[in-house]
Amino acid sequence: MNLLTIAWKSLRQRRLASSLTALSIALGVMLMVLVLVIFGAVNSAFTQRSVGYDLIIGPKGSELQLVLSAVYRMQPPIENLPYPYLEQLRKDRRVVSAVPLAFGDVTEQGDFPIVGTTTEYFENEYMPGQKFMIRGQRIGKLFDAIIGAAVARENGWDLGTSFSIVHGGAESEDVHDEKFTVVAVLAPTGTANDRTVFLNLQGFYAIAGHEKPIDEVEKRLRDFYSADPERLAASLQQLQQYREAIAARAAAPDPSALPAPVSPEAMKEVTAILVRTRPETPFDAISLSAELKKGIQAMAVNPVRPIQRLMSGLIGNVQKALVVLTVIIILVSGVGIFVSIYNSMSDRRREIGIMRALGAGRHHVFGIVLAESALLCCGGGLAGWLAGHGLAIASAPWVIRQTGLLINPWALNSLEVWLFPILAGLAVLVGFLPAMTAYRTDVADALAS
């Protein structure tokens, strides 16, 4: 029989008060664990190098919006870049891979974002060391589609499913006439890819209504290439030829008998370009980014940095505030433990006197009361920690289903390492005064009471 056993017996004697005080600690710790698990998942989802790319290139504007739209598909696109710019970028010696993304539409069912891209997107790693696992076949036809795991699950789609898309976003009711067919389903990645429908980029361009009026395209090209007359001239020449082909077709006796002229590259646009630079020269990404910063055409953004700023500037502070709140809850629970033990001391004066008469030293009774405090704090904390992770484990499938956020309930936050030392400190803090009361108990008086 040791001090802990004796302390445990004393707590059992006051089981209602003990349970309630331990429960308050448990609830505080459980809340803290849940906050840490949820923010851990958010943190992991947003601060990982969620794309296996060094840069995202898009039109000038908000860096955060570009990353949120191109990587996380949470924001509308800023604007578009001319397709010839993609080809220009591909010729840059610093660029190993430049994958175009064209987006802005959503699925009619479920409002999942539509992204037009090339097969290169699926050949590259979606995050360092992680390659796409695809069930089905590669995009071959114009209106083939590959869908993310969450899209398949939530819409109940599978290989061969046919679907429609809505132009311009969820609030638009402009449903395109074209029907797309699912040819492949991605395995879960824990990224926005799970909630995305990928189309053949050429199919994306072929959707009726996606092509802008030639005059508007010309104006944009003139703005974009204002400092590059050679490329402007080449693009304008393509536009002129296209304009003439359309006019020739319109002038024909039966225009519908003639094939529609093929859109030149100058007519096409991409929303963002995912760029990989040479891995052996990391300075390439910096120099390309700096070069674009000087110009007026586009901007290159490190996909991690704006999100890190967002995390540390806003989400990080929200996390801190919630953690502080749960710490306050735990401290209040600690005060509850103090009150519970301290109030019991007058009832237990005789009990302490008996133990002292049986040979217990002052340090023994001090230790017993402190052990009671430690059992309540650490026991309650352990129960709360297990409950928090248990709840996280139980709710993880639901959270993943609802949010696409990959919750790892087994992952331990570094802050959790401090949990039990802090609880032990709290136990000493709240148990010290009652323990001193026990320490100072006059045995003869206590036995006479």
């Binding site: 029989m1 004796i6 017996k9 004697q13 040979g359 030293g361 006479a448």
Partner: protein, 231 residues
């Protein structure tokens, strides 16, 4: 010699600053295995004397020799451990801890001795006092007589040289008084433990071959002498 008291003086401070003399004992002793009843009236200093012998209180002066060592000269920490190891106490109100079973109450008596707990001996003691079938009962599920028997077993748990019993039958009905006293005396005899029972009951004291009246050897006025001399 199990117990030897020499020149014990004890007084209590009064609210006015004066000291109230309670004990003034020149000499008192108890041989190994000897049993004595100490008779005294209420407020006569019996409990104070018992607390001094147990090392719960320290005398103003004098020596309290138990098993050859002066308890009064020991630092408190040593005295606590020595008490746990050498002295058993049976309280008037039994003082069993309600959170512990009968067996655990006996084990608790061993827990602070520094020798570790001997579960087997604790069981044997409880069997000796006839509670082998009540080991895991909590005190509230035991009768008054059974509680007192647990208290006796607990007092003997550390194989003490001296057992102090403070009015052990005061809260027991007359039918059980004799049984409990017999139990305490026989168990002490069996384990060769000296027994000093403090009581105000002539009937209880009458069972002992040695009966000491506190008033015969306690002279509290002795406590005043040094002050009077210095004045």
């Amino acid at each position: 010699m199990s117990l030897l008291l020499e020149k014990i003086r004890k007084s209590y401070a009064q609210p006015g600053g004066e000291r109230l003399p309670v004990l003034g004992i020149e000499h008192y002793s108890l041989a190994q295995g000897e049993q004595a009843a100490l008779l005294g009236s209420s407020g006569g200093g019996k409990t104070t004397l018992l607390n001094i012998i147990a090392g719960i209180l320290t005398p103003d002066s004098g020596r309290v020799i138990i098993d050859g060592r002066d308890l009064a000269a020991m630092p408190e920490v040593v005295r606590d451990r020595y008490r746990a190891a050498k002295i058993g106490i049976v309280f008037q109100t039994f003082n069993l801890l309600p959170a512990f079973t009968a067996l655990e109450n006996v084990l608790l008596g061993m827990a602070f001795s520094g020798r570790g707990v001997d579960r087997g001996f604790a069981r044997t003691l409880l069997e000796t006092v006839g509670l082998g079938h009540r080991l895991n009962h909590s005190p509230k599920r035991l009768s008054v007589g059974e509680q007192q028997r647990v208290a006796v077993a607990r007092a003997l748990a550390n194989r003490p040289v001296l057992l102090l019993a403070d009015e052990p039958t005061a809260n027991v009905d007359p039918a059980n008084q004799q049984k409990i006293l017999d139990l305490i005396r026989n168990t002490c005899r069996e384990h060769n433990v000296s027994l000093l029972m403090v009581t105000h009951s002539l009937e209880a004291a009458g069972l002992f071959s040695r009966v000491d009246r506190l008033q015969d050897f306690n002279h509290p006025e002795l406590c005043r002498q040094p002050q009077e001399q210095s004045a």
